[in-house]
């Protein structure tokens, strides 16, 4: 039986889902977006009113702004088993946000390429696979 896929921290993206999306906060007054979710709009000119904020799923496609391939292994609490070099990227999405995330591959990454949000496993135990959001390059 397949193990259950569990986000390392719940509530950061829609899950379970065939088409997961990051969950951001949007200010109804000024249109600013924040990820992860925030209780108040960070625009200095907006009222600190929780009622102004709504949770919205972000576009699950974007454009690669930049990336690195991390070859050194970070210590706990980062956990990836087995450890392999991994990509980390900054991706621009349609809402005007720039969002961090791992990449599904270290091959063929390019600034300006189109990427799609998906999930990937970092480690597992007897019952669960622990997942995070990842950016996957898409053919164009």
């Amino acid at each position: 039986m397949a193990k259950k896929q569990v986000p390392i921290i719940e509530g950061l993206f829609t899950w379970p889902s065939d088409r997961p999306q990051l969950l951001a906060s949007k200010c109804k007054k000024c249109g600013a977006y924040f990820f992860p979710k925030v209780p108040y709009c960070g625009n200095p000119d907006c009222a600190k009113d929780k009622a102004n904020m709504e949770v919205v799923p972000l576009s699950n496609t974007g454009t690669m702004y930049t990336f690195t391939i991390h070859t050194a292994q970070p210590a706990l609490p980062f956990r990836m088993e087995p450890f392999t070099p991994y990509g980390v990227a900054m991706v621009d999405v349609a809402e005007g946000m720039r969002v961090l995330g791992m990449t599904t591959t270290t091959e063929g990454l390019k600034i300006g390429q189109q990427v799609q949000m998906t999930v990937g496993k970092l480690y597992e135990d007897a019952d669960n696979e622990y997942i995070t959001w990842m950016w996957k390059p898409v053919e164009k």
């Binding site: 921290i9 950061l12 210590a75 980062f78 980390v88 969002v99």
Partner: protein, 414 residues
């Protein structure tokens, strides 16, 4: 409140940077305090106000006494009942506490004040304080800890962030591997005769380029290590400083920089940015620099010597541009021209080898930069003295993560 008074640095004390497992942070803080008092020709009872760097990694060592550093150092120095404040502004803490000391004297609240920071950051990548890799089961607080989220769920270490900014820079302005290696090679030449530096050797271009990638395109020797270190700076009124030290340095301007809403940078410990038109990257750093030029009435052409935060070769380039008001890419040419050589340059930069040669001792780093400027401007850097003789105005800037920055300008006052 009285009118603001002119404030000068009258004494400095610095512990060497490196790894000192035999000492605790408080001992290191006492050593450099004693050295600073001696340099200022003062005694501990002359100090009327004090600001301390609060150690950040108390999950690893030091515990609460090192977070509450002031009163724990006072237990060793001897308690005198003076006001003490503990400050954490990440790597920019050193200059943040110096600002507190300067303001205490400028305002008339105290005639003499000290800033002290002692730090043991040696030992690999900085990481979140919460160490449980599966917190969702028992710690919902992790959901709001963006430092934890970026580390565990995106694998972003500090060098990963620097490497991403660097790759974009290479794409935008064509920074080359050669330039990155040169930043380390050239600053390392300043470290050879700096007794406070941890790595006192010249790194060749070949060995830098042969060092392994940590986060491609940044290599091991292009990223600063983490170190233990401590430093203290004593300030007093300019008039009093002249009585105690033949070579007082006027604090012409000192400030703390924080970000502007809409900065396109995904700063360390955060997971996103919401870029707004007209807001530049590294806004916390640009804000700090703009303020010190405005307060001092000086401009980049007036600066004779610079200590910038070369936490990586990427930092070296972007901070040279930030401080001198250059366009993106211009630092590469300036570096390659030799103008900013730490010892022989017409504008010496990182004369003691910079953060690259020291390794970062987080909260003490800013004071180390100030100590280095003071030694050079007084002409007391020994074999590491810069060749340039006109050193009237010196500028130091410190980079701190999560949008913390600080910068100051010191001017010769004798």
């Amino acid at each position: 409140m009285k009118a603001m008074r002119e404030v000068a640095i009258v004494g400095i004390g610095q512990h060497p940077w490196g790894q000192f497992p035999e000492k605790n942070m408080q001992e290191m803080g006492v050593e450099c305090t004693v050295d600073a008092l001696k340099d200022a020709n003062m005694s501990w009872r002359d100090i009327q106000s004090a600001a301390y760097g609060a150690y950040m990694w108390i999950a690893d060592r030091g515990g609460v006494p090192s977070l509450l550093m002031g009163t724990s150092i006072a237990r060793m120095m001897g308690e005198t009942g003076i006001p003490m404040v503990n400050c954490v502004n990440a790597c920019a803490s050193g200059q943040a506490i110096l600002r507190e000391a300067v303001l205490a004297v400028a305002s008339g609240h105290a005639d003499t004040a000290i800033a002290v920071a002692a730090d043991k950051s040696a030992g690999g990548f900085f990481r979140p304080q919460l160490r449980d890799p599966s917190p969702s089961k028992f710690d919902r607080g992790a959901e709001n800890d963006t430092d934890y989220i970026r580390f565990c769920m995106t694998g972003e270490t500090n060098p990963a962030y620097w490497a991403m900014e660097l790759r974009r820079r290479m794409y935008d302005v064509g920074t080359t591997d050669e330039v990155l290696a040169m930043a380390k090679h050239i600053t390392s030449q300043g470290a050879v005769n700096n007794p406070y530096a941890r790595y006192r050797k010249v790194f060749t271009i070949e060995e830098i380029k042969a060092s392994k990638y940590i986060a491609d395109p940044l290599r091991l020797f292009e990223i600063c290590a983490t170190s233990d270190g401590a430093a203290a700076v004593i300030v007093t009124t300019l008039d009093n400083a002249k009585k105690h030290n033949k070579k007082p340095l006027l604090v012409k301007a000192i400030t703390i920089g924080t970000p502007t809403f809409g900065d396109p940078t995904i700063r360390l410990t955060f997971c996103s940015a919401y870029p707004r038109p007209g807001v530049l990257d590294l806004s916390e750093s640009r804000n700090a620099i703009n303020v010190i030029y405005k307060i001092s009435g000086l401009q980049p052409a007036d600066i004779d010597i610079i200590e910038l935060p070369d936490n990586s070769s990427w930092h070296y380039l972007v901070y040279l541009e930030c401080i001198l008001g250059l366009k993106a890419g211009e630092a590469d040419k300036m570096l390659m021209s030799g103008k900013v050589h730490p010892i022989t340059g017409e504008l010496p930069v990182c004369s003691g080898g910079g953060v690259a040669a020291q390794g970062e001792a987080v909260v003490a780093q800013g004071l180390s930069q100030v100590c280095q400027l003071v030694r050079q401007m007084r002409g007391e850097a020994g074999d590491g003295q810069v060749k340039k003789t006109k050193l009237v105005n010196g500028l130091a800037q410190t980079y701190g993560y999560a949008g913390n920055n600080a910068a100051c300008i010191l001017s010769k006052a004798w």
